[in-house]
């Protein structure tokens, strides 16, 4: 297992490299640069040239990419010439430096990511928790009480839940709970940097929860519906297996049969969709953050493309890619735990 994880983590490198290369080339192929202001805000050509030189935007694209990967000090030392004229601005991706932001002067991409990513992370984690807390029990109850009113209403609500996107749930919650009933605040996030351990909210008080409930529900309810549907279908299949009949035949209590024998095996397909669901959280977080005015990373991702803030686009893309592939790895590890027949070595 340990070797499998290590092998997979090594496998991250080509994926991250390909994503970086693809994004780098594509972003630079988009017409328009970061400092091409129009009309009154247009810069004199000399100033544009100086700025472009500072950020190496006048280098050939492949040299820019190399400098992004290994740092411009290394490029200067190896290639010399015009590449040595500018001072070392970035230390390169391999040394964990995502470079300077072109739009937010004096901030590095590392600063922006570490200031905003934890908020998106907290939102996503809460949404996933809500999804599991509602989805698993609902699916189990629906399967155990198959073809009763409990099953029908749970199934119906679940179809409703997967059909209503967070883009709709968010405004609906704001309208109903914040505007009409005035119960919870409709905007912003209830905790600020510095974060606990760099990721977690430092104040778990009412201020945090009252701001977190609505956006987390808007993201988590769709997830809980998918989880409930899958749990129900999978548990219904498992319950008909021979080994469940055997367990009942040897006189085990129904509670034990369900919790020990049936539930664990029925979770396997459920775990499979947590990977794709995590990707959906990422999508949803762009929208939910915008609807609720939360200062997470979603906003930067969308606006940085419009601003042609190349390093910020790269940073956001790589962070999201990393999250997705780590989520997929965790899913595979969970597989092996749930189903001992699966071996990775």
């Amino acid at each position: 297992m340990g070797r499998f994880i290590i092998r997979r983590i090594i496998g991250f490198i080509p994926v991250l490299f390909t994503v970086a290369l693809f994004t780098f080339v594509l972003v630079r192929a988009i017409p328009g640069g970061p400092f091409d202001f129009q009309g009154d805000r247009a810069l004199p050509p000399q100033i544009t040239a100086n700025i472009n030189a500072k950020y190496h935007l006048d280098w050939p694209t492949h040299m820019q990419f190399l400098s992004y990967l290994v740092g411009d000090d290394v490029v200067a030392r190896v290639f010399g010439g015009i590449y040595a004229e500018t001072a070392g601005e970035s230390r390169g991706l391999i040394r964990g430096d995502l470079g300077p932001s072109l739009r937010y002067q004096s901030q590095s991409v590392n600063d922006i990511v570490s200031g905003t990513f934890p908020i998106s992370f907290q939102l996503g984690l809460l949404a996933l928790t809500i999804g599991l807390l509602i989805g698993l029990p609902a699916g189990v109850i629906a399967a155990l009480k198959q073809n009763t009113w409990l099953d029908y209403s749970a199934t119906f609500i679940a179809v409703l839940g997967v059909s209503v996107p967070s883009m709709v749930l968010g405004p609906l919650f704001i309208w109903l709970i914040s505007v009409k009933l005035g119960l919870l605040p409709a905007a912003t996030w209830g905790t600020k940097p510095p974060f606990l351990l760099g990721f977690f909210p430092s104040n778990l008080d009412w201020d945090f929860w009252s701001h977190a409930i609505l956006p987390a529900m808007a993201l988590g309810i769709g997830m809980s519906a998918s989880i409930a549907r899958l749990t129900r279908a999978s548990l219904l299949q498992v319950i008909r297996e021979d080994y469940i009949r055997t367990a009942r035949a040897k006189g085990l209590q129904e509670r034990v049969v369900i919790t020990i024998h049936a539930l664990k095996n029925s979770l396997i397909p459920v775990v499979t969709i947590i990977g794709p669901l995590f990707a959906a959280v990422v999508t949803g977080s762009f929208i939910v953050e915008q609807i609720f005015g939360i200062g997470g990373m979603g906003k930067h991702f969308v606006t940085s493309i419009g601003n042609r803030d190349y390093p910020l686009i790269m940073g956001a893309t790589l962070v999201y890619t990393l999250i997705l592939i780590v989520a997929n790895l965790l899913v595979d590890v969970a597989y092996a735990w749930l189903d001992p027949r699966i071996r990775y070595d």
């Binding site: 994926v15 996107p165 883009m167 709709v168 914040s178 493309i305």
Partner: protein
């Protein structure tokens, strides 16, 4: 020798029309009420989208700037407390007007065009590419299969949303700048006349064939060992004929079911891209654009957001009902 007469009206098992798998599935589908309602809703919506210029009371781009943010009297209950103080109350627009004075109902009807067109074209593109790719991979087997599936696995690990966003930014930037070549400018011309929809189809369709390819391959792998394929081989059928006449017709059912269940995802993707400004070009009406334009003012004018939001949800709900019904109909073991 006794002859069996097969005249019409003979109560013989032989005279009954043979029930094909498709016909049987269709009968099961008709018994599922939710699926039938979903199907009827989609047909009505499609008719509404096609005849939008006849049904809609106004054009989607027609503005009445003096009546922006108008609210009809009978919907005042949905407005926040104190709305009487600031809202323009008029019955000119059945569901009110948006911040630019355009009729919300008409724009919602026109918005169905975009959502359904995306659903249809993205589904067709991904079905076409996915089926061909997956069938070839599964049928060829061996080293070819291995290589083709490695490519799919690799692409599967990619963050697709980001790629769609980048692709769409790239395509749109080129569309704004205008193209040089004959082919490219023709494409941009079509895209313009469709309000920016063509690029959207390409972007969404190009990234969604991967799941379909995996399913098609799995189906082919389980079918190609069957006796009827062996029989076709022994009768001297070529590979193309076996794929075209025997394999694809048999895997098409499950693939269409999966595709129907994937359609809500395509509709969401369009709405999402339009929401962040990378979808269709304004003033084309799309539910995603309508929600994104109205959501800033949701505290004062909630209706402008809620109307397209409800339309979007009902449509995906209908597709989910229909998809579930199709799945149950094609695979009766799931229904029980």
């Amino acid at each position: 020798m006794a002859t069996v007469s097969l005249t019409p009206g003979t109560p013989s098992i032989l005279s009954q029309k043979p029930r094909s798998l498709w016909r049987e599935s269709f009968r099961r589908l008709l018994r599922n009420k939710a699926a039938v309602i979903g199907g009827i809703f989609i047909i009505l919506l499609a008719l509404g989208a096609v005849f939008a210029n006849v049904i809609a009371p106004f054009d989607y781009a027609e503005q009445d700037l003096l009546l922006n943010n108008a609210v009809p009297d009978y919907l005042m209950w949905a407005m926040p407390a104190g709305a009487e103080g600031y809202a323009r109350i008029t019955d000119k627009f059945p569901l009110g007007a948006d911040s630019l004075g355009r009729d919300v109902l008409s724009r919602t009807i026109y918005g169905a065009r975009v959502s359904l067109a995306v659903a249809f074209f993205a589904a067709t593109v991904s079905l076409l590419i996915g089926t061909i790719y997956g069938t070839i991979s599964g049928y060829a087997g061996g080293r070819v299969d291995n290589l083709m599936m490695r490519v799919v696995d690799f692409l599967y690990g990619f963050p697709f949303l980001i790629i769609v966003i980048l692709l769409q930014t790239y395509l749109k930037a080129f569309a704004r700048r205008g193209a040089e070549g004959v082919f490219a400018s023709k494409i941009l011309e079509i895209n313009d006349s469709m309000g920016g929809m063509l690029l959207l189809f390409i972007a969404i369709g190009l990234v969604n064939w991967i799941g379909m390819a995996r399913i098609a391959r799995g189906q082919v792998l389980s079918l190609k060992q069957k006796e009827f394929i062996e029989a076709a081989h022994s009768m001297g059928s070529g590979d193309l004929r076996i794929i075209g006449r025997h394999l694809i017709p048999n895997i098409l059912g499950p693939l269409i079911v999966f595709e129907t269940l994937a359609i809500p995802g395509y509709i969401f993707t369009e709405a999402f891209l339009s929401f962040i400004g990378l979808g269709v070009d304004p003033p084309t009406a799309s539910w995603g654009i309508m929600i994104s334009e109205a959501v800033q003012g949701i505290r004062s004018y909630p209706l402008q957001t809620l109307v397209p939001a409800i339309a979007l949800s009902l449509t995906t709900l209908a597709f989910n009902f229909l998809g579930d019904g199709l799945r149950d109909a094609f695979d009766p073991r799931m229904a029980e």
